[in-house]
Every structure is written in structure tokens, then in C-alpha cells.
């Protein structure tokens, strides 16, 4: 079973436990981004996490958006990159750019 399949399975298991769950997926990359397109991070409303969308540098910001999405916000596309001030703050030190799709599992 691939990593993405394992993560989807995990997300479904958390959902069955009655948790709220969000899924973040890398949908585009430019330059030297640490994780390829299709990489996933799943999060629940107790802060449990599995998988990754970067080497750890943007996870915090993604989790924050994931919380909003699992509380009912529509899915959203997040941009991270060296030209983006927010990304500088969260520190995408590799110099790459990534777009991450964040959605609720509902």
C-alpha cells in the first residue's frame, strides 16, 4: 500500500472514531521543494497528525488552516514560497515553492 493510501485509511479511521479530520495535499511544486506533488498530511481536531507536506517548515501554517477547514470553512489553496512573505516567516528554507490544497474529510 502506498503512503497516500495509508494516510487516507488513517484519516477514515479517525473519522470513524468521531473526530473532525482535514487533509492537506501538495498539488504543485517549483524548484527544490522537499516533498513531491501528491504528498499528504492528515490532521484531526485534537492535533493528531500523520504524513507531511514539507520537510517540516510549513506544517504549522498548514495545520492552522486545516483547523479552520474542519470547522466548516470551504477547501482552500495555500501558496508557500520564497517570494511570499508568509512563507518567509514559516521558513521554506529550501528555496522552493509549493501549493497545498486543504480540505475537510466529511
Amino acid at each position: 500500500m502506498s503512503e497516500a493510501e495509508r494516510l487516507l485509511q488513517e484519516a477514515l479511521a479517525w473519522k470513524r472514531e468521531g473526530r473532525k479530520v482535514a487533509i492537506a495535499t501538495v498539488v504543485t511544486t517549483w524548484g527544490s521543494s522537499p516533498r513531491p506533488v501528491g504528498s499528504m498530511l492528515v490532521v484531526d481536531d485534537r492535533g493528531r497528525m500523520a504524513g507531511s507536506v514539507s520537510g517540516g517548515c510549513i506544517e504549522g501554517a498548514v495545520v492552522k488552516e486545516a483547523q479552520a477547514v474542519m470547522e466548516g470553512a470551504p477547501p482552500r489553496l495555500l501558496d508557500f514560497g520564497v517570494t511570499n512573505e508568509q512563507a518567509w516567516e514559516v521558513g521554506l528554507a529550501c528555496g522552493g515553492k509549493v501549493q497545498v490544497w486543504v480540505e475537510a474529510l466529511s
Binding site: 502506498s2 487516507l8 490544497w101 474529510l105
Partner: protein, 231 residues
Amino acid sequence: MKVALAERLLAAREAGRRACLLRFLKTGEEALVIEGELVVGPDLPDGVLDAIERAHRRDRSTTIETAAGPVFLQVFNPPLRLIVVGAVHIAQALVPMAALTGYAVTVIDPRRGFATAERFPNVSLLDAWPDEAMESLAPDLRTAVVTLTHDPKLDDPALDVALRSEAFYIGALGSKRTHAARLERLRALGHAPEALARIHGPAGLDIGAESPAEIAVSVLAQMTQVLRKEG
């Protein structure tokens, strides 16, 4: 993502089928395509099914531009397979390395004492003759075949079947001279020169590998190169 969609996707994968999960990044809509057929979601813009087929072949998820805005194609393929002919010393290094890289590995060797569970723990072992074993495994686009025995009686029948399959990588261990003789024999079996050119022989990237583990690294590196850069 809808729970029902995720469940349907995982069920398709469990049944050994290829699935592609689509996200319409402009509208938030989603769709599921299984083996090239739309099973859930809105009608797909022109060109999307072709793009899905390419993404499956390259085993690479991607975002494409369509008439409906950007659409993210997330590919869920069956695992890569590696068929190793010859349960030899190099195979003992190659098999665990390939498993780490994501390959489901099968080792074929009809000789007694070679393909044993002690030498190859947690691997699928076949002691049938290579032609028979290869026919039953039916190599496809996601399969690599590597022959390691140096013995024409074992390697040739396996290569014969591999050449008639869509295997993305075919490698044969042996010196340049051994390989030239091998090509001559395979030509006599009716394989055209352009088909024979699919065989990487001697198998592996030229990194000066000497030990069995180093040779395994060079072979696995070449498989990866063909998969990721030529697919």
C-alpha cells in the same frame, strides 16, 4: 473530500485497480476515475482523461490547466513490481533495497537451495522454470525484470517473456561479451534489434560498482532513472 469517495478509492486499489482522484481547485469539486472511467463527479473537461492516462504511466500526480480551471490529478497506482531471476548473492542485496524503494519483489530460481526463505525472508519466491514463472507473473508497465544468473538456460527464457511484455525496465547482468552472445541467441528466437535494445546489459549505471551491494545500488539506480526520467 467525501468519506464515500475515499472509501471507494481505497476499495478500487484493494481490488488491484488504478484510480485517480481529481480536485477542481477553482470550485472545490472532486471526481474519481477508476481505470480510465469516471465513476464519481462532474463531467470532465476535454483532455483530462488523456492527462490521467499520462499521469498513471509516469506514476506522477500533477495539476493541469483545463477549461474548468486548474485540476489536480492525484494518481493511485498499483505498487511497482520487481521480478528477479536468480536467487544469487546480488539478489540478496537487491531485494531488500528494492522493497525499501516501494517494489513488490518476486524472486525466481528453480535451482534447489537458492530461492529459500532463509536467504530471502519476507519475499515471494518461485521455484518454477523462469519462462513458466514469468508467464504467470505477466509483467506490465509497472514491472521491472532483472536477470542475475549468467546462465542462458535460466536468463534467456525469462528475457524472452520480458521482451514480449510491457515491462518498463529489463536488465541483464553479465559482461559486454556475455551480453553480445545473449543478444545473438535472443535474435535467433525472433526478437528484432529495436526490441533487444530494451535490455539494459550489462545491467546498472556505470558507477564502478564492485561488491554485490554496490552492484544492487547501480541496478536500482538505473531502474529509478528509467522509471522517473524516461517514463
